[in-house]
Every structure is written in structure tokens, then in C-alpha cells.
Symmetry: C4
Subunit: 285 residues, 4 copies
């Protein structure tokens, strides 16, 4: 069990995070989609409409959250990013072009990482200290690159229920917090249909998505840990889904045993608990 002490005697933590992918997520996955005005507007819905609605949802429920923003999206929609920051939420790093680190050379990863940090700082005034890999596909090199640049945490791995300290290079002593995620706590698999990009099957109802997310939260409440949900504003910013999400956030906030926080706040408590850092996992050929 994790030794982290959550505030107010809560038995677990929960965070409603957002990946503001916008156009970049599709351009990285299927460059030819640039020729489709329909697809580009499907993605633009997130920064243009979805974020605004979700900021209102968070305000009405009194919730602070973390928004992962690709540098490209920040530059294309700077007002959106400034609105997020002005509302008191955390802006975190989500690559520059939304390219998977696991598919890039180290030099390319560095270029995307620093270019993304510069873009977010230029637009929002704040240099990000949290990172989530585009496509949730972290490379083996990235934890070391993050630690060397002073990032406080990553949120892209899947091997635990609770945050932990990760020491990419045990010799150096540098460590970052890892706040794990999982595919079931994502709106993408429930809602995303986009021809030539992803065709996951029948679009699910918001009721189905919330039932799935609630069942996992109830499990985390029982066993302890940290429940991290990810929504994409181009999907969950739609009126019906935002309404269902708002009702669910209100439900979670009324649970006395659940501490709702930003990922930055969760990272701080993890550091404060001073767990022994873990090395990178290993695999063998």
C-alpha cells in the first residue's frame, strides 16, 4: 500500500484531468487529415467550445483540474490556454506536435519537449512541471529527460494504483513523481469515432462511460490509490457528455473519503511521503 497521506483523512485521491489535443492529435496520427475540413473542425471543437464549457462545469462544481496541452495547440488557440490558467487550473505539458515519444529519436524527443515547454510558457506565462506523453506512449528515455529539466511529475505509466517516485538514473539521485493512468479511465475509448483515424466501435452513451468510471473509482475507494480520469474537450465538451460529467463530478465531490485535486497537488503529497524511489522497470530479450 502507498504511504501517501491524503488530506482530511481521505482514503484515496481523484483527479479529473483533461488532454486538450485539438488538431495536433489528428495531424500527428494521420497527416492526410489536414486536407479534411470536417476532421479539423471536429478537433477544433475542443479548444473552441469544449474547454469553455468544461471550465464552467469545473467552476460550478468548485473543482480545480489539470489540463495537458500540446505546444501546437497552445500556439493555435492561445486564448483558450490563458482562459484555463486564469480560472486557476494547472497547465501541463503534452508534447509539441502530439507525437508519441516512443517513436522518436532522443534528439527529436528533446526538441519536442523543449519546444512544448517554451510554447506553454510563452502563452500562459508559466513553465510546466507536469508531463503526459501524447498517445499515452512514454519512451524509456523520457523520464530521464524530464528529471534533468526539473519536471516534478509524469502521468503516462500504468503499473500501479498509486503515485510513486521514479528514479530514471539511480546513480544521479534525480527522481520524478509518476502518477499512473489506465485505459479504462479515458473518454477516448468510449466516445471517439473519426474515420481514417480511429473507428473503435459503437459510440457509447455518457451513462455507460460514467458507469465504467464509477465502478473503478469504487474499487480505488476500497483498496486505496489514486484515480485519474482523462477527458478530451473535443469529445467530452459536447453538451450531453459535459452534463453527465458535471453530475458525476458533483457526486464524487460529495464523497467524504475521496480527495479531489490537481495532479500537481498529488505530486507534492507524493514527494512529501518520501517513498523510496523505484528504478525503471526492466524487460529481457
Amino acid at each position: 500500500m502507498s504511504a501517501i497521506r491524503w488530506p482530511g483523512g481521505a482514503g484515496c485521491a481523484a483527479s479529473f484531468s483533461f488532454d486538450v489535443d485539438g488538431e495536433s492529435a489528428v495531424l500527428a496520427a494521420a497527416p492526410s487529415a489536414a486536407g479534411s475540413l470536417s476532421t479539423m473542425t471536429h478537433q477544433a471543437y475542443g479548444p473552441l467550445v469544449g474547454v469553455r464549457r468544461l471550465l464552467e462545469v469545473l467552476e460550478r462544481t468548485g473543482t480545480r483540474s489539470t489540463f495537458f496541452v500540446p505546444g501546437y495547440t497552445a500556439e493555435l488557440h492561445p486564448g483558450t490556454v490563458r482562459d484555463i490558467a486564469a480560472a486557476g487550473h494547472e497547465i501541463a505539458h503534452h508534447g509539441y506536435h502530439h507525437l508519441k515519444p516512443a517513436g522518436l529519436s532522443t534528439a527529436e524527443q528533446i526538441e519536442q519537449l523543449d519546444r512544448g515547454s517554451d510554447a506553454l510558457e510563452r502563452v500562459s506565462g508559466i513553465r510546466p512541471v507536469g508531463y503526459r506523453a501524447p498517445m499515452w506512449d512514454l519512451s524509456w528515455e523520457m523520464p530521464g529527460l524530464l528529471a534533468a529539466r526539473g519536471f516534478r511529475y509524469d502521468s503516462s505509466l500504468m503499473d500501479d494504483d498509486a503515485p510513486y517516485l521514479l528514479a530514471p538514473d539511480p546513480a544521479s539521485g534525480a527522481a520524478i513523481v509518476e502518477i499512473p493512468i489506465q485505459w479504462a479511465l479515458d473518454d477516448w475509448e468510449q466516445y471517439c469515432y473519426l474515420p481514417d483515424v480511429t473507428e473503435l466501435g459503437p459510440i457509447q452513451t455518457p451513462q455507460h462511460a460514467v458507469e465504467l468510471w464509477r465502478s473503478e473509482l469504487d474499487g480505488i475507494r476500497r483498496f486505496g490509490g489514486c484515480w485519474v480520469l482523462t477527458n478530451h474537450p473535443f469529445l467530452s465538451g459536447r453538451p450531453g457528455r459535459a452534463t453527465a460529467l458535471e453530475a458525476f463530478i458533483a457526486e464524487v465531490r460529495a464523497m467524504p473519503d475521496v480527495w479531489v485535486a490537481t495532479l500537481g497537488e498529488i505530486a507534492e503529497l507524493t514527494v512529501a511521503a518520501s517513498p523510496a524511489p523505484r528504478p525503471l522497470p526492466r524487460i529481457e530479450p
Copy 2:
């Protein structure tokens, strides 16, 4: 928020639109399907049986609607198109061969556009003023082509909840209305299984589809906007689905805050509200 005033003090608009794809949708996506009599009859069900049943559904619920018809379908099934028009519904443009504009040269787009308009005019006596891109895949060139030909509206983009004016070429001042759609408000993802063409996963029940569409309508009723549902007669003209759709239309028509209309009527109100036209969105390399 949109400045459009819906009649009767309604808080939002709703339209039950139909894409009468028939054979052309499959021939464009998978030309080899022409050799399959089963697949061709699967598609022909729409113009032959589905449209007739759905016209009765619309009549029983006192609803006028918009039917997007490819030129090819109009020429193959002219009686079907004339029946639609005779029942008082709007006939709109859905390409000629149901080819995605985003995959064509400008010359090819023009050829498909004008050939489709000519076919619809020849068959129904009316030249269409509304357009929806085949496969919901509008190109960057098409808005300008539509404006230049006097079209009143397009309904293929996805970046807002409410209609707006779109000025493809700000210099010229010409503008069309854009009435946005979204993938969750389509019967294709819920019902379409067709080997070698699309295999989206388990065919859903009409109950599931209606639950999804209703949840989004309830969101639109809360936040305002325009809810546009699309059904394909070769799918939703089936007895069980048509029955579920009829019950749902009746339910929506009884909502005092929802104005049910054709897309042409919605376009007129949008123009009347005189919103500032938007330029085409931009992306950057």
C-alpha cells in the same frame, strides 16, 4: 452563445435529417462491392423501402425534414426522390457519386457538385440550396464553391453547437450558413455492419441509439444550440428502428422548448440573426 432566436421562444432547434446514400455510398467506398448482389440490395433497401416507411413516420408525427440525396441515387430511384419532395420535405445535395470532397481535385469537386445539382433539379424540379459532404468529409475548397453557386448552407462541419455564417473568402463578402453535425448524432456508428465496407462492432439496439441521441439533446436543451440527427434510410428504415425513431420524434415534438425544423428553415433564421461571418479556420504546419 448564439444570437439566433428560435420560434415560439424555444431554447434550441432540432432537425431529423436523412442521408439517402443507397448504392452510391458503398460503390464509392469499395468499388468491388458492385459485384455483390447482397450488398447492393442491402443499400437499395433505403430508397426502395426505408424512405417510404420514414415518410410515413414523418407524416404521422407531423414533421418536416431534410433529405440529402446523391445525384446517382436520384437518377437510379427518381420516384423515391419525387415522393420525398411531394411530401413537403427538403431535398438537399449529397454529392453525385458520394465521393469525399476531401479526396478530390478542385476540378473533380466542381464536376461532382454541378452534376449532383443538375440531377436533383432534373428529378425533383428544384435546384438544391443545402449541401452535406459525402462521408461528412468536407474539403477546404468546398465552402467557396458552394458560396459561388448560391448555396444557402452546408451541414458537414463539427466545430460548434449552433449554426453560424461562414465566409470562405473574406474579401468577397459571400457567406454560407454552416449547420454543424457530430458523429454521435448519426445512426451509422450504431447500426452499420457491412463486410468489406465497415465492421464497426456489435450492432446496437434502437434503445441504445435513442438513449445516446436523447442524452445529447438534453445537453443541447440545457446549453442552447442546434441538435441535428442524421439517419440513413437503408439502416433506420428497418421496422424496429423506424418504430423507435417514430416514438423518439413524437417525444421531441412534445418538448415545448425545442423547435423542430428542416435545415433550410434553420439556415434562414441564422441569416436573419445576422451574426458576424467567420473565416475558415486555420491550421499550421
Copy 3:
């Protein structure tokens, strides 16, 4: 509306048909599957176990049915086919190697057709008069080939709710009955998961499948027509699915407005109603 008069004043007909694909369906779709003992036994479950259980289900509910059997399956499992015939059900043609007619030359189609008829006659003693295309993929040539050989009906097309007469060659006057099917009335899309062959998505519950089939039956009861369900013994012969199917058959048999019959009986009534034969549909380039 169809002019067919169903017995007892019933408003519609219903048939619980079975496609006994067994090993051949997979060998035709993915020949390399022959190397997988697991996959072969997955398919063999149908003739070995599923058919036996389903025959009991039909006996307990007092229902006669039509079983479409590939010639290859009949030769590999002759006892199964004889058991079906001995229980009073109709044996019908489902190709020889379960190859799609639409992908074969005319000579190959003839070879598969005659070889399948010979196999069924040799095994069961009866030469089949009903046909359903493997993979539900009928070619343009096959209706003429069936008519020339004295087949009474085909059940592979999808362009109507009720049976009709089809005249492949209007000059000759020969006609067969077409008893249409549709993808939603099939257990394949609900239950079939088989790596490297089909991965349609999450396997559905029997409750979901029955809800789907019932919703369409209720539609047919309302509008009239002929509801034809298809189950595959290697899928729906499993204990839980067979139990759900049995309960559903019992439910349907208790409906006073539904006439439950074999496809052969439905074909006879269609002929008796003497509808004007339809030509083959046409498409244009």
C-alpha cells in the same frame, strides 16, 4: 405491402434459421486457420455439440426450422445432418466450401453449387430446394443458376421486409422466391470473436442479442413482413445462448399474430400468392 396471406390470420411470418458453418466457414475465410487446432475445434463445436442442443431446443418449443449446411460440413459430419433431417427440419444449401459466390467465376459457382447439392443429397437423401449464399454474399449470376436447377428459393438478399418472386431472366419466365435477411438478425455480429478471422468487438450478452432481435420483430409485427433470424450452432449452441434462444422462441410462439415456419413453407405461400416477379435490380457505373 406484401399480398402473402399467412396462416391463421397471422400478420407476419417468423423463421428461426440456422447456418451450420462449422470448419468450412473459417477455412474459406482464412485458409491458414487450418493449422490451428483451437480454431478448428471452435468451429467443430457447432456440428458436434451445438446442433444437438439446438435440436432439443426446437423440440421442446415445438418448432420446425431450416438448417443451411455447406456440403463440406455435411461430408465431415454426416450424422449431424441426418439428425437434423430425422427431427423433421429442412436441410438447405449453403455452398460447398463456404466460398462467397460473389468472388467466384461462373464456372466455379456452378461447381460449388452442384457439388453442394450432391453432398447434401448423398448424406440426407434429399436434394435441397433452398439456398443461402455463404457469407450472405450472393452474386449476380446465382439467381439464374438456382432457377435453372429448380431451386424454390434463395435467402441472401436484403432489399425488402417480405418475400417476393425474383425472375433472374425475364425472358425465360423462370423465377425463384427470395426471402430476405438482414445483418441485425444474425448472431454473428453479437457473439463472434475469432482472432485472425473476425474481431468484431466486445462479445455481447444473450440478453443484448435477444433485445435486438425482439425490437425488430416488434417492428415487423407492426408493419407486416417476414422476420428471419439466423443463428450459428458454433455460437448459439453454447449453453447460455441456447437457453436465451429457447426462452425467446417460446415467447415468439406464444404471439398469436406471428406465424412461425420453415423457409420452405414461407416460400410455398409466397408462390401461392402469385406476386408479379421482379427483375434483378440494376446499378449504373
Copy 4:
């Protein structure tokens, strides 16, 4: 019907088995996944976290079970395997590199088989007597290889509801028990989403999975046989799913007509019933 007598007069048997695939399942299916730290941790969740939680679930419900472990996983996570054995569960063989036997030469199959047995024996102290093919894809050669090495049972085929004796080479007289499985009794199709490896469609709720598994168990209770469920700790070890599984195990254990056992115990009873051994099935070209 099977002649096996289940203890206590039970009408059927049930086993909650686990495939501890971990990293190897993905490395075998998509070697490039080795470059993705996210994917590797997604898989490592099983041996690191999921197994521990599931061992507690089994302890709380007083249930003994069978864990199929690839040799590679055993060597990478030896403590996990020793914990399973120490808790009184059966350790069984699941290949070495989790490669499908059906895709390997006989020499390669032998190498994977013996290397896996050696690894399990070295780590757990016990040489396995049960086998399940990686990817549930048994080859035609493997039953003979297993019999020649003294394995008691295989659990990879799908052609019956109850265990039986299988004689790979009728001349030799050697036989193994086959304990059949089926795709609907697996958590993979319900829960597994992993980009570039498998994208089966919307992740299902634990409620849906349990409803599916229960409906089949109820069928087996009615008709007799042996219900074998398979869960993967990297999927079903998650808090919400483990909670649902625990409730379901408790429900099954309270059924007086169901005997819950390990596969090894089921194999012993099968041998004791002395059914006539079956030869390998046959297919024809």
C-alpha cells in the same frame, strides 16, 4: 452427456483460471512494443499489482485456482510466481515467450515447451502438468508433445462443454485430459484496449462482463459440463474489476450445484471417470 461425477453431487464444475501474461504477451504479438514504456508498464501491472490483489480475492472467497504463467514472466517476476504457489494455487504452463504454437515449427514448439517447464520448475519448485496455449492457439502437434512429456491436461480447445480424454496418437495409447475453454469466458474481449496491439472496441463495464459470464454459467448449470473462466491479472487485477470478480466468485461459491476447483482437480476427476479417449479431430482439404 459427460460421465464425470463432480463431488458433493454437483451438477457441473467451475474454475476461475488466470493467464498471467504480463510483458510477454505483448512482446510476442508486437515486438516493437518493447520500445514503449507505457505499454510495458500496462502489462507489468499484472505481475506487480494484479496478481497480489487477486490472491487476496481468492483467499477471501476461500477459492483455489490455476494460474497459467509464461516462462518469461516467471523469470522476470519470480516472487510473483512463488507467491501464487505459496498461497496453494496451481502453477501451469503458458509457453515460454507466449508465442502461438500454431505458428511455430515442431522444433520451436518443443524448445518453447521445455524451456517453459524448466523456468517454472526453477522458480516455483514444481514442474507443471497443465498447459494452455498462448493466445489460445493450440497446434496439431502439441497434444502429442504434451502427452509424451507426461502432462496431465491441456486447456486450449473449444469443441465441448465438458472435459474429455484426448489420444493424440491412438497407436500409443497415451492420452491427456482436454478441459475446453471458449472466447466468451475471457476478460480480454471485455476489457483489453492497447493501441497497436488490440483495439477491440469500447471497454466494457465489469457489470457487463459478469452478466455475460453468469449467463453462460447458468446455461452450464442447466445442461451440465465445466465452466472455465479466464482472467488476466493485468486487466482484472484493477480495483473495480477485482471487486466485481470477488462478488461474482462469492455468488458462485454459494451455488450448491456448482463444484469450484482447480483445473488440475478437474483433470483428475476426468481421468477417474475413464471416458473413452477421443482421437484428434480431422479436417479435409
